[in-house]
C-alpha cells in the first residue's frame, strides 16, 4: 500500500474512533444530565413527595398563558408547569408553581425557563417567593402583583410571571375549588346594581394601599360614584365569626357613603345579624380621612342588648366585622380616590402646616390629566398633586409615561408658590428629563384664568438638534409638554374650584 493510501485509511480510522468515543461519552452525559422541562423532577426539587402527573383538563389556556403539565403529590399539593405570556420586552416565562391544597396557598415557585432578554432582567428567587403564602380564593387571587414581585426596570418579566400565576389561579379555582368558570366580576357588579342605578365598570386595584381585616373583591367606577364589594373578617374576640360581604357605594362629589348593603351574612349565632337599619347609620357619612370610621360607633351593636339574662359585654363581633368593611372602604377610597397617599408629597413641599383633603368635583376635567389630590392648608394655601401625559405628537411611536407634580398655591394672591416633580415619566434618553429649573419657570405665575398656562413656553425644552442615533427631533420635548399639561390642569382646577366661573 502506498503511503498516501495508508495515511488516508489512518485518517478515516482516527476520525471514526474519535467520533464513536465522543458519541458514547455524550450518550452517557445525555442521561446523566437528563433534563425535562416540567415533569416530576422540577416539583421534586421544590417539595419532596410522591409526585405523579395528572391530565390537564382540556389543554387549559386563557389570555394570560397556558398550562402544559400538572402533577399531584397525593392530596397534599398540586404543581403546575405553566407558561405566562410575555409582556413588553420580556418573552414568555415558564414557571413551576405548587399550591398547598389544604390551605389553597402558594407553597413554592421556581422559574423553569425565563423569558427576559438577559439575566439582568430576571427576578430573583427571593422576589419570586413573595408569591408564597398568597391564597387562591377565586380566580382574582393574582390580579394584584405582590409588591416585591413587581420589580422596577424588570416590569415586563414581573408581569409575565404574574400572568403565569393568573393562569394557575383560574385553573385552580375551577378544578380544585369547584369555583365558577366565569369571572366573578359580573356577579359582583350585579350586587352593586342592587344599591345604585349607575353603570359601573371594573377598575384596577391599587396594590400599594394596604388592606387589613379583609380584602377588596371588586372596585368599580361609574360616572359619579365608586362602588366596592368587600369581604371583611372579624378583628378578634372569643366567638368565631364568618366573613361578611358587603356592597358599598361612595359618592365622588361629596365623598359620602351613598348606599350600602350586606350581601353575605357572616354571623354564626342567630340574633347577632346586622340589620339594614344598623348599616344605614353609615350612609351619609363623609370620608374625611383614612381612619374616619375607626372610632365610629353609630353602626355598632351593644351585645348586652341581646340575649337578656346573659352577661355579654362590648360590641358584637358581627357589627365590628361590618365596621371593618367600612374602614376598608374609607382607607382605600381616601388613599386612591382622594389622593390621600399623595399628602406626603404636599407635606414635603410645604411643611409646617396641616393639610386637609377636599373632594374634587371633576378630577379628569382636562383631557390627558388627572387631579390626584386637592387639599387646603390651615395657612391659606391650596395644594394639588396632578398627573399628566404628553399632549403633542409622539415621535418614533415612543410614548413617554405620565408625570406627577405637586404644587402649592397661595389662596390670597392666587400665585403659584412652589412646584416640584413627584414622579418623572419614562424617557427614552436621560437628556429628555425635565430638570427642576424648568419646573421653577412656572412658579410665581398668578392663576387668574383657567388657560393661563396654555401657551406658556417658559418651561418647555426644545428638542431640536438632539442627535438620537442619527435622527433629529424637532419641536418641544414630549416630557416638558407633559409637565406643562400638568400645570394646565392645575390652573383649570384651581380656577373652577376657587375663582369660579
Amino acid at each position: 500500500m502506498s503511503d498516501a493510501v495508508k495515511t488516508t485509511i489512518k485518517s478515516i480510522a482516527v476520525l471514526l474512533c474519535i467520533a464513536v468515543a465522543s458519541g458514547l461519552l455524550l450518550a452517557v452525559c445525555n442521561d446523566v444530565f437528563y433534563y425535562e422541562a416540567g415533569g416530576a423532577s422540577d416539583f421534586e426539587a421544590l417539595i419532596e413527595g410522591n409526585w405523579s402527573v395528572v391530565e390537564v383538563n382540556g389543554e387549559f389556556a386563557n389570555d394570560n398563558g397556558s398550562i402544559s403539565q400538572i402533577a399531584e403529590n397525593g392530596t397534599a399539593h398540586v404543581g403546575f408547569i405553566v407558561s405566562g405570556n410575555g409582556v413588553g420586552k420580556s418573552g414568555a416565562y415558564t414557571m413551576a408553581i405548587i399550591i398547598d391544597r389544604a390551605t389553597n396557598k402558594v407553597a413554592a415557585v421556581k422559574t423553569i425557563e425565563m423569558g427576559a432578554t438577559s439575566s439582568g432582567y430576571d427576578l430573583s428567587q427571593e422576589q419570586l417567593d413573595s408569591y408564597v403564602g398568597v391564597e387562591i380564593a377565586d380566580s382574582t387571587a393574582f390580579d394584584t402583583v405582590p409588591s416585591n414581585a413587581l420589580v422596577a426596570g424588570a416590569t415586563g418579566s414581573s408581569k409575565a410571571i404574574n400572568n403565569a400565576f393568573k393562569v394557575v389561579g383560574a385553573y385552580y379555582t375551577i378544578y380544585y375549588l369547584g369555583g365558577s368558570a366565569v369571572d366573578p366580576t359580573e356577579e359582583y357588579l350585579g350586587y352593586l346594581g342592587q344599591i345604585s342605578t349607575e353603570t359601573f365598570t371594573k377598575a384596577e386595584v391599587d396594590g400599594s394601599i394596604t388592606i387589613s381585616n379583609g380584602r377588596l373583591l371588586l372596585v368599580a367606577e361609574s360616572a359619579t360614584q365608586v362602588g366596592f364589594y368587600v369581604e371583611s373578617t372579624s378583628d378578634g374576640g372569643n366567638v368565631d365569626n364568618g366573613a361578611y360581604r358587603l356592597a358599598i357605594v361612595v359618592d365622588r362629589a361629596t365623598a359620602q357613603i351613598a348606599s350600602a348593603k350586606v350581601i353575605e351574612e357572616g354571623a354564626t349565632i342567630p340574633g347577632y345579624e346586622v340589620s339594614q337599619t344598623t348599616i344605614n347609620a353609615y350612609v351619609g357619612q363623609a370620608i374625611t380621612s383614612a381612619t374616619v370610621f375607626d372610632t365610629f360607633e353609630g353602626g355598632l351593636i351593644d351585645s348586652s342588648s341581646l340575649n337578656a339574662g346573659m352577661t355579654n359585654t362590648g360590641w358584637t363581633q358581627s357589627s365590628r366585622t361590618v365596621r371593618n368593611a367600612f374602614q376598608m372602604v374609607a382607607n382605600y377610597y381616601f388613599n386612591a380616590y382622594m389622593g390621600g397617599k399623595h399628602l406626603t408629597s404636599l407635606q414635603t413641599l410645604a411643611p409646617g402646616q396641616t393639610w386637609t383633603i377636599v373632594p374634587v368635583a371633576d378630577a379628569t376635567a382636562l383631557t390627558g390629566s388627572t387631579i390626584l389630590c386637592l387639599a387646603e392648608s390651615d395657612q391659606g394655601k391650596i395644594g394639588m398633586v396632578v398627573s399628566a401625559i404628553n399632549d403633542g405628537t409622539n415621535v418614533n411611536n415612543i410614548m413617554n409615561g405620565e408625570y406627577i407634580i405637586a404644587v402649592v398655591i397661595d389662596r390670597a394672591t392666587n400665585a403659584l408658590e412652589s412646584a416640584v416633580i413627584v414622579k418623572d415619566g419614562w424617557v427614552s434618553m436621560d437628556m429628555f428629563a425635565v430638570p427642576q429649573d424648568k419646573v421653577n419657570a412656572y412658579v410665581g405665575t398668578i392663576i387668574d384664568s383657567a388657560t393661563v398656562f396654555d401657551t406658556f413656553e417658559g418651561g418647555l425644552i426644545a428638542a431640536e438638534g438632539y442627535l438620537n442615533y442619527g435622527m433629529t427631533n424637532t419641536g418641544w420635548t414630549q416630557s416638558s409638554r407633559a409637565v406643562r399639561r400638568a400645570f394646565q390642569a392645575v390652573a383649570n382646577c384651581y380656577f373652577a374650584e376657587y375663582i369660579g366661573g
Binding site: 485518517s11 467520533a19 455524550l26 444530565f33 422559574t111 425565563m114 439582568g120 426596570g153
Partner: protein, 217 residues
C-alpha cells in the same frame, strides 16, 4: 520557567481577547451582563482545558491532514457536555447564552490553542495553557461585561448600584465601542508595564536592553 511563561502569555502577553482579538463574537454579544460574561468565561475555560488535554494526548496519533476536523470533533464533544450540564443545572445561563453556547465550538481561541499549542506540547503544559488562556479570556470578558453592565444598566452581577444608566453601553454599538476602547487601554497599560520592566532590568544589569532569550522547546 515554562509554566510562568504559559501563565503570563495566557493572562496578559497573549491575552486572547485583548491582544490576539480572538473569539470576538461571544465577547460582543454576552458582555451585557457581568454574570453572563463570567459564566461564558468559565464554560470556555472548561472546554479549553478538556480539549487541550485530549488533543495533546492524541497529538501523535492524529494524522496531519485531518487534524482540524479531529480537533473540531473533540471540541464539539466538550461543548455539548457543557450545554447539557448548563441546561440542567444553570438554566439562567443556558437561556441567556442562546445560540452562543453551541458557537463555543467555533470560538477561534479554542481551535487556535489546540492547533497552536496543545498539538505540539505535553499534556501537563497543554492543560495549563488551556487554563490560563481561559482565565485570560474570562477576566477580559468580566472587565468589559462589568463596564457595560454598570454603565448600561446600573447593576453589577445583578446587584443594583444606582439609577444612572447610559443606554448606549447596553446596545450593539456600545459593545463595539467598549471593546475597542478596552483593547486600546490594555495595549497602553501593558506596553507601559513592559517598558518599565525592561528599564528595571537594564538598570539592574547595568547593560544595554536585550530581548530575553526564549527557551528551546
Amino acid at each position: 520557567m515554562k509554566i510562568r511563561d504559559i501563565m503570563m502569555d495566557g493572562l496578559f502577553r497573549q491575552n486572547p481577547t485583548l491582544k490576539l482579538v480572538l473569539g470576538v463574537c461571544s465577547t460582543l454579544a454576552l458582555t451585557t451582563s457581568a454574570f453572563d460574561s463570567f459564566g461564558m468565561g468559565i464554560a470556555v475555560t472548561f472546554v479549553l482545558v478538556c480539549s487541550n488535554v485530549i488533543v495533546s494526548l492524541l497529538r501523535n496519533v492524529i494524522p496531519d491532514k485531518v487534524r482540524i476536523p479531529a480537533f473540531v470533533l473533540v471540541i464539539a464533544t466538550f461543548v455539548t457536555i457543557v450545554q447539557l450540564f448548563l441546561r440542567k443545572y444553570v438554566n439562567a445561563l443556558y437561556a441567556s447564552f442562546g445560540v452562543f453556547l453551541p458557537l463555543i465550538v467555533v470560538n477561534c481561541i479554542i481551535l487556535g490553542r489546540a492547533e497552536g499549542f496543545a498539538s505540539k506540547n505535553k499534556v501537563g503544559f497543554a492543560a495549563l495553557d488551556g487554563l490560563f488562556m481561559g482565565l485570560g479570556y474570562t477576566w477580559a470578558m468580566v472587565l468589559i461585561g462589568g463596564i457595560r453592565e454598570i454603565l448600561g444598566y446600573g447593576t453589577f452581577f445583578g446587584i443594583k448600584l444606582w439609577d444612572f444608566t447610559i443606554d448606549f453601553f447596553a446596545s450593539q454599538a456600545g459593545a463595539f465601542f467598549t471593546y475597542g476602547i478596552v483593547i486600546a487601554l490594555f495595549v497602553l497599560v501593558w506596553n507601559a508595564i513592559e517598558r518599565s520592566q525592561k528599564l528595571k532590568k537594564a538598570s539592574a544589569n547595568d547593560a544595554p536592553v536585550v530581548e530575553e532569550q526564549k527557551e528551546e522547546n
